[in-house]
Symmetry: C2
Subunit: 636 residues, 2 copies
């Protein structure tokens, strides 16, 4: 699934797209903006960002404050309320949805249009002189705070941190912060003990003369400690912070979660082996005061790492002279390069996932002619089939299941009111994935159950050529993923076509389906070089508005490539597909493929047949096996 896609919860999906009535809420918020219970001086505007305190891509229900105040539940958007106005900024994917979900107390600010003012410019234009603009410093990133603060003070206003969140203050039935059961991952799944990971991290810190590292990203904490949770839907993470010192480890997490004997044993809470690997546990909320205490005790030249995407609140605790803000943390990098156990797990997870999808497609071929299969029912069936696989935990994102014109809506997710029935006449696109204890999957296939038109086949074939161009690319060590993005587009470009999303994102191992710091996109220039062991998606597409959508996505592993020569001993890399689901031959215009591309397709299908075939046999799934064999015939 492409990065930057919206996430709606199951509840949301069932909601009608009707505006939320916000008169009373806005009245209460504006009162709170003057209430000395929360603030020392009245504020003239209050900013409600989208994110949580960890800058997570997906958030828990208790953090859906922007949705609460304005009704709009897309994944991206910032609300600002002044004494007179209320406005919401969101991007092109959401103009329609936002306008349907908000009442007329709200002005929709369409980002990306020339006439739309930035939040700063708008604030400056509507605020009285010398205004105070409030924001919860926990849910604004340090760099965002800096920019906003600068713009406002240049115009004579000021940005102030409001400690108590004013939305929480008026949100009567706000759900509690989740505190789900923690899952411990042994060596069998993690490949490395958390102790070894901490030691390796400290090596990196020592190299750069860093004595402390404040870990705020939830997936980094989960990865470091070999723990998983289910606090956020689809993302097996849990709310926590960590502060890693050269000889101490501070973990901030709801203490109830640490009562379970398995967790205590895993973390060696009762019988630590070495003092520098003893975990000191604190409540989630005490990270602020504890970080203050650490900072007070810093020696003059000591430096502390914190990600520049961390919250303003925590970042500002660290005195500037001690603060080293970094765009990617060493944990983010270490997590991205999978170890042999993780790679093996990811391979297994993808084989199981392929079994479920072979079953699904075999089932669809039989069921579709009956006219009862809908976008939603396929999504449900796919989940059911995946859940039959070993170590299944849940989906890795909500299934995108789309027929015909719905497929052209890149961020489509079926709702009861948009739900189309699959037929023999329209292209069907399914983008889905799961979390297994041993790995995370994400796969898109575009198929036709009748006879695709020549144009549909032509477009599909260009997308396939782009997919192969990336998957089969050989490139020197040290190459950044964005340098490969154009390979995915060249065939489409030749015919005047294109797609308006990136080509690939990093994929976690039983972790977030989107992770940094690598990716394949024309937009990403801050990506880190690809390395053997990294795992990314390869998902070019083509979308014909009102008609159909095509996307072809495999998760691929970066591996060393054997080349004829080896310039300056740099070594080369290429990709190995982990996803092993047949690509529908019916959709391919083979005349448009080169011999090399035909060979690639045949090799890929041979591997699908061998690897997934063996597992289908082991699981005695005869129908799916027959389907697999039929779908992996070589093309000539």
């Amino acid at each position: 699934m492409m990065q930057g896609l919206p996430l709606r919860t199951v509840t949301d999906q069932r909601d009608a797209m009707s505006p939320k009535i916000t008169v009373e809420l806005l009245r209460q918020l504006r009162q709170a903006m003057k209430n000395s219970k929360y603030i020392t001086e009245p504020i003239q505007a209050y900013i409600v960002p989208s994110g949580d305190a960890h800058q997570s891509e997906y958030i828990a229900p208790c953090d859906r404050r922007r949705e609460f105040i304005c009704g709009f539940n897309g994944s991206a958007g910032t609300a600002i309320v002044t004494e007179q106005h209320a406005a919401l900024w969101t991007d092109g994917r959401y103009f329609l949805q936002a306008s349907q979900q908000m009442d007329n107390n709200w002005t929709l600010m369409k980002m990306g249009l020339k006439e739309t003012p930035s939040q700063e410019d708008w604030l400056i234009s509507v605020l009285p002189e010398n205004s105070k603009v409030g924001v919860d410093p926990w849910i604004i990133a340090a760099d965002q705070w800096k920019n906003m603060s600068k713009a406002l003070s240049n115009a004579g206003h000021s940005l102030v941190a409001v400690k108590d969140n004013l939305i929480d203050a008026i949100w009567e039935d706000r759900p509690p912060r989740p505190s789900t059961k923690l899952i411990t991952l042994g060596l069998k799944y993690a490949g490395l003990t958390w102790q070894d990971k901490v030691t390796a991290l400290r090596g990196k810190m020592a190299e750069r003369k860093i004595s402390w590292f404040v870990v705020t990203a939830l997936d980094e904490i989960a990865w470091l400690f070999n723990l998983r949770g289910s606090d956020i839907e689809y993302n097996p993470v849990f709310f926590a912070y960590a502060i890693i010192g050269i000889s101490s480890i501070k973990l901030f997490v709801d203490s109830k979660r640490l009562l379970h004997p398995a967790v205590r044993e895993h973390l060696e809470l009762d019988s630590p082996s070495k003092s520098e690997l003893t975990i000191q546990c604190f409540s989630y909320e005490s990270v602020y005061t504890e970080l203050q205490a650490v900072c007070v005790a810093l020696a003059p030249k000591e430096k502390m790492w914190i990600c520049d995407k961390a919250s303003c609140a925590l970042t500002q605790v660290i005195p500037k002279a001690h603060r080293s803000a970094i765009p990617y943390t060493p944990l983010c990098l270490a997590k991205a390069v999978k170890n042999p156990t993780e790679i093996q797990g990811m391979k297994m997870a993808h084989i199981k996932d392929a079994v479920a999808l072979c079953e699904l497609f075999a089932w669809l071929e039989k069921e579709i002619p009956k006219g009862k299969v809908t976008e939603i029912s396929v999504a449900d069936k796919a989940e059911e089939l995946r859940s039959q696989q070993k170590d299944f935990v849940g989906l890795s994102f909500p299934t995108i299941s789309s027929v015909g014109p719905n497929g052209a809506i890149i961020h489509y997710r079926p709702l009861p009111e948009t739900n189309r029935t699959l037929s023999l006449n329209e292209v069907y696109l399914i983008d889905s994935g799961a979390q297994y204890l041993d790995g995370t999957t994400d796969v898109t296939r575009t198929v036709h159950f009748g006879t695709p038109s020549d144009y549909e086949k032509e477009c599909f074939t260009y997308v396939l050529k782009g997919h192969i161009a990336v998957s089969a690319a050989v490139f020197p060590n040290g190459t950044k993923g964005h340098l490969l993005d154009s390979f995915a587009r060249a065939s489409l470009w030749d015919s005047g076509l294109d797609y308006l999303h990136g080509t690939g994102h990093g994929v976690g191992c039983f972790l977030n389906v989107h992770e940094g710091p690598c990716g394949i996109s024309y937009k990403t220039f801050a990506d880190e070089p690809l390395e053997a062991g990294m795992i990314v998606s390869d998902e070019p597409g083509y979308y014909e508005d009102g008609s159909f959508g095509i996307r072809l996505e495999n998760v691929v592993l970066v591996i060393p490539a054997k080349t004829k020569y080896n310039y300056r001993n740099r070594g080369s890399l290429t990709f190995e597909p982990l996803t092993l689901v047949p690509i529908q031959l019916k959709m391919i215009n083979t005349d448009l493929l080169t011999q090399k591309e035909r060979d690639w397709v045949n090799d890929y299908h041979r591997k699908c047949r061998e690897t997934v075939g063996a597992e289908l046999e082991r699981q005695a799934r005869k129908v799916a096996l027959d389907w697999l064999i039929q779908e992996t015939q070589p093309i000539v």
Copy 2:
């Protein structure tokens, strides 16, 4: 020629690579650093940057201050002298040369190596507490000043602007600043009057509510006023500044240059047609005081553009509240998109250039067996042949003429002590170009006069495939050049090969052979999107150390492409080669080419034969014409 290559003057070339004795010069400089004649308080370090006051890529002899103080005459490098130390920072291209040209008073700081400290870190490590570091604010760019100043003050030191250049103070026989005769370009060459260019510029200024624009780049001033000079070798520019207001034009240039009637008439100095198009002339040196006067008179909200690469001295004259620093100026953009007259001129210049090169190659085929042709004599012959063409002005850069292993030194230029003789046994690479009144050329061909080895042919063919991949690429409007860079490398990458320079640079029209803001490089992320009318080079290569070098360079014009479809009405672009010099068929392993690539070569050669053939016939150059016909036979 690849951007970032060194420029040595003819004098330099003849110099032996022996160290300059700097004991006395350093003594004098260190005295000047304490001399109250130049500075109010002694400084503990003095920085000598490479550039001139206009951040020119190539500089005039009077601006070669860094070379004067340390002896190293490469194109890139910064010298820093403290009371105890003297150090020079330069990059990998120059480690050998710098070590040969500097005496042991100097420490060579090898940039790009892990153990090499940055200038800031080094200064901080060697300076006594509370030191003052001086630099001439005219030759340090505003953004460089900012970074250096910040680093030093964080460590308790300060960066101070030293008005009098201390190198000039001790440089006894420093050459005077050149003030060459100005050439006026009429509509026939420029396509637009300078008045129309000023009016268009003012339109852009009004659009962005900008009331003044300080023009500091020499090629922008030359382009704006349709004037050329020869103050800097190979670059037809002249030392000047301009300040353009909404209703006034201030030109700062040596007044002697404006005495010529043709120049006075061209600039309408004596009979201006409209008051807002009247040019006020000032001396070159008075730009500082005049800019101060303009700034004093600014209304509260008035904004002034200046490029962020302009000198610190001029930038800081503009109060922050009025300053709008931009990475690329509207003149840089306007200049990059050639108008129809310029395009026609560039085409003509390239045909004439091809005539000279056909003559050269025909001559070489006859002369080489005699064993008397050297790298230097080919370069001289090429210049002689070009100078026979109409409107020839000079070379656009020093010819790179290299045989065998010399070709693998990317920035090679033949010196008497390295000069090799061309033979039937080695690969020969020539990268050369000229300035004509109607355009600028830059072409590289790699040839073999005997029988190339299979390996040489294989490498050449990969480079050719990369060249074609860029030249024939079709891409949407709005695409930035760096997204095309990998196309040039894919074939080399497949075999484990690569080249360590960018693929293309913008080319001026009778202006600098390297210009912004477009280019094709894996390094350039701040490039502007390609537009129809832009002109860039396409020059992949491959270099086998100690053995041979291959590069294949055409200058290409961005043109609209006709495509089968037109996604979202964006339109597509592609390239049309302006360079029309045959690519040596003998060097191609045609088995490695696809049919499309063979067709491209044949189409290209057909165009060379038709277009250049007609001109060769017109010029009655029979031998060259025969050579052209023989070299442009279609491959099958």
